[in-house]
């Protein structure tokens, strides 16, 4: 399969998954409240396809600005490898230390909501770091 066809397939799968996710949201809201907000279907579809269009326009514009120079090469991949290895150790050791400190401070249970918030923060920081490393 050619790279272009794989790219189209990837976009289609991503768009379909996002739309299915939106519909699942409608289903969950309906199941919880008894009122299915079907009017949200159109904004979901328009939002997902519009978002993809914006992404395509930005990537086309940046490609035009960059010329034929690639965005990533062997050095970028090596840098990312090093970064993720460092991040893995940092998160493993950091979260272990945080747990031990919390336990020593007398915290015996952790609320899952707080856990999601903490992990979300770690995830966001890791992704932001990866973007910075990519540009170095």
């Amino acid at each position: 399969m050619s790279v272009k066809r794989l790219q189209y397939l990837l976009w289609t799968v991503i768009v379909l998954c996002m739309i299915i996710g939106g519909f699942l949201g409608i289903y969950i809201i309906g199941k919880e409240t008894g009122n299915y907000p079907v009017e949200l279907m159109l904004p979901i579809i328009i939002g997902v396809i519009g978002g993809l269009m914006v992404f395509l326009m930005i990537s086309k514009w940046s490609q035009k600005r960059r010329g034929n120079v690639p965005e990533i090469d062997e050095r970028t991949l090596k840098n990312l490898q090093k970064y993720f290895l460092g991040a893995l150790y940092f998160i493993l050791i950091g979260s272990g230390a945080a747990l031990l400190i919390a336990y020593a401070m007398g915290v015996k249970t952790i609320e899952t909501g707080l856990l999601i918030l903490c992990l979300g923060g770690v995830f966001l920081m890791t992704i932001a770091g990866a973007f910075i490393v990519k540009r170095v």
């Binding site: 120079v69 965005e71 050095r75």
Partner: protein, 72 residues
Amino acid sequence: MKSFVKVINHIKEVRLAKKITQIQMAEDLQITRQTINAIEKNKYNPSLELALKLAKYLDVPFEQLFYLEEKE
């Protein structure tokens, strides 16, 4: 006894002598401009594949482009 510590290259000198810009080289070799800059400043050692590509692109013998810095 001699010990080899660092890989040194003459890419910048050869590139400037041939009047090739970093952007042009990046486009031709499909690497980023930052990578060329890092190699020229001896901050990054390219892979064997890229080093051979560089030697071929600049039309210079490999040993003339890259060599080991010797230290007593």
